[in-house]
Symmetry: D2
């Protein structure tokens, strides 16, 4: 079901780890749609993930980089332009990590060094990426940059911790830099706010199962999968969405605009010991 | 605990029915805060409610009116200015009704005459009220108009039916007319988006119990009561909020910005047959 | 630059009048992308517009209908299924009209019969369309319904009058019915909030030139054209956005998330008689 | 015009510098409304500002603190409880600073050490304040915490630079910590999004004059002054807004919900050399 939507387009995809990653799916779809691109992730991720497999499949070069490191990022854009033969047309930022979450520091007992790392890795890296590319003039006019976000940026979810704040910052950076990129280069910058997704990272989160059951029942179309998210990314990288910029776009089966669904209410009511007849 | 916040202020309160009504509580608080006002509701509501009791308590005159009828509304403002001795300083609109809900016409099988009535009673009545008062120049500069709304205007809740659309329309009218009232008269117009509340009207809604349990557990401060809503109204009628206009203000214990709380998740998980340890 | 994104898809496009219409451009693009569809507009529009030309070009049948008339709408869906050989996959609603605007009744002097017409034509018609199609089971699973909206639904613009309220109502209907369509049929319903566009309807609005200059300078990518809007519609009708529903999607060059741009500020400052050096 | 709204309440006010500061006005109003409180600012601010004058007037003790320093913040809460004789009921955070702005590093050429400082001073300081107070159990039940924000958190304004991102982060922290404070302590946390205000800090911003003229004409009630902002703060510290939490509340004369006003459009049109007759 390929449409050649990205035929002739060049890109960089940050953050693929294994076949559960959304970035992995984006790479697969982008490849099918005719794009050429490079892949980047941290040296650690390259060691523990299966990026080689993806690279082989997509005929893509891997460029290791710590996305919080400006020199590394410069290298990614430089090498990518070399390898791909020119400026890029799209960039995906799918990067996030919280040491506070990992080390079980709750939100009212944050370690501030960890918080700085959370923000640097999950949000400021996006600014660095955009600033490096801007200075190098590495993105073509009418190019498209997308970062993956989550509704925790707008609404508090138990346990999402300082990642909520990081996603708010990420979305703000998309708007702030989106203005400049739009004005100066005719390039768009958006975030996709994706359903909770069982990636290798996400699967470690406690209580993820219950939350995903809830969002599945709350969302009229159910949770969005990572394949579906990749499809949606493709439309944003394509030439068909040229005037969409500075937006946070919900790709969540409708969850974001639901207050209470029949299905979730029925399940909730079961827990109340009532089998309410709310047809 | 009176502060004289509304000392010397005159007002009109639409929509009190009985002591469960938010408008009833607003009247009681406004009276305690030193305001004088008239009360208005439909002839039917006057027959079935206990408005006489409230009127006596607050030393307020009752003026019957169908709020969808421009002549009736003109009469309310005219009589009120007569009785109160001049223009008014605040107006409360707490009016809403859906025949589709009452007659159990679901949203995908609406009766369009009923829908027109829902919109006319629950939203357009607010425009009529504002237009009548504007033409009569019936509200003092730096006066304040408030209408009661609900989060269904932003997010779909099972069973709220065409009232959701009515509330969206109501909030839009508050913005549209708020602009003109602000520009021409220095008068503010806002809506309060209140927690689900067990009023006499609300108590008839099927499944209301489960929903209120859910919102209670989702809201970090719990559902807001009608007394608390009345308190909040007072701040908006007072001189301390003079530059707040065209806003929809959530008075809901935090519900509107929650994605998932620990307490609601625990309850939900019970229904999954899992007693998840998500401390 | 066709991708076959809508190959094999059937649709109905409401609201094309002449080559300035967004719906006209959507029809052209949908045709290029491989879709078959019918066109519908009012008998008056058919008389004064150039729909025959479009129909010939796209090999599409025209079915006259007053979109506020349930019987007419039933006929459109019935005939369309006949002509196209089955259920449809996409529907575009591009319909709006205000007699208050036309007859120069300002927002604080609305004619309420005109207001009812504005709401019926511009918003409730969307509910009728969705209800008729729902009852006839006329849309395929994973189909997509789009209505065109405008940012006046969220923010007040001088002169947009009761169309602002109509667009709020329209967007609310998209959410409310989007929930049911999602849950019951796996069909998505969204609105696109498009830049101000010089359609034949829009060109009559007083002060439209100044507003479009302002939004052009405020939007980092400039105003979105109707061709670009049509492109974006195609992505929403395609299979690549299956989990996007109940959303209002800004297609506006970034305007919606701008507070003040350098270019608009410079122009504004000129009017202040200051050539402020705000580099 | 005092109402005793804060009679018996204790508080801490961070960020007053001189009589142009919003925090200064809040202190004056809180004093008039019967509150007792301490004042805090950095040693540098204490040296260059006129806080002694305010302290004398309000009978308040000054406690110097770098709000990015956890030990300093602990000291502020400890000393305040000592001085005031118990836990506090309200806290104001009115702190913000960007070295990138000061040093004229534009948003596409940020210094990342400066950015870290911007975020630490303007946003993370709020988390530190809340975490310190949480651990010390320094705020009474039904207490109220307010931080001052700006619409740049939602919409990009030319020249606001990395302060926009800081305000987004600040508002996210208010939500995230507001959930925990609400759930555990029945304490509310909100932000006020205030009109652009000519404080001593603000007055240095280039192009501030033109922007304030624009927002004045766009806002139906005009820009909100710092006195008016202080009044609004008082309502949020009072017992009348107990169930308002996790909100960002616009105090801006209606600006946030305006798309285009007649007055701003007329001024803008002048710059186009057209004196458009858009009555």
């Amino acid at each position: 079901m390929a449409y050649n939507l990205l035929k002739g387009k060049k890109g960089i995809i940050f953050g693929a780890l294994d076949s559960n990653s959304i970035a992995w799916k984006v790479a697969e779809q982008a490849y099918e749609e005719g794009a050429v691109f490079t892949l980047s992730n941290t040296p650690t991720a390259l060691r523990f993930g299966q990026l080689d497999e993806l690279a082989a499949k997509c005929n893509a070069e891997i460029i290791a980089a710590d996305a919080t490191n400006v020199a590394d990022l410069s290298n990614v854009f430089e090498k990518s332009m070399e390898v791909l033969g020119g400026k890029v047309d799209f960039v995906l930022h799918s990067i996030g990590m919280s040491l506070n979450v990992r080390k079980k520091r709750v939100y009212n007992d944050l370690d501030y060094n960890f918080l700085n790392k959370t923000l640097d890795i999950s949000a400021i890296s996006f600014h660095k990426m955009l600033q490096v590319a801007f200075k190098m003039d590495a993105i073509n006019s009418w190019g498209s940059v997308v970062a993956l976000s989550y509704i925790a940026a707008q609404r508090t979810l138990y346990g999402y911790n300082d990642m909520a704040d990081a996603k708010s910052l990420l979305e703000s950076i998309a708007r702030s830099f989106g203005y400049i990129y739009g004005r100066e280069r005719k390039i768009r910058v958006n975030t996709i706010s994706q359903s909770p997704t069982m990636t290798t990272a996400g699967s470690g989160v406690k209580g993820m199962g219950g939350l995903m059951d809830f969002t599945e029942r709350m969302s009229p179309l159910g949770n969005a999968s990572s394949e579906e998210c990749a499809n949606y990314c493709i439309t944003l990288f394509s030439d068909l969405s040229k005037k969409v910029t500075m937006q946070n776009l919900y790709h969540d089966g409708g969850f974001s605009n639901m207050g209470m669904s029949l299905r979730a209410m029925k399940m909730y009511n079961k827990s109340l010991g009532e089998d309410l007849d709310i047809e």
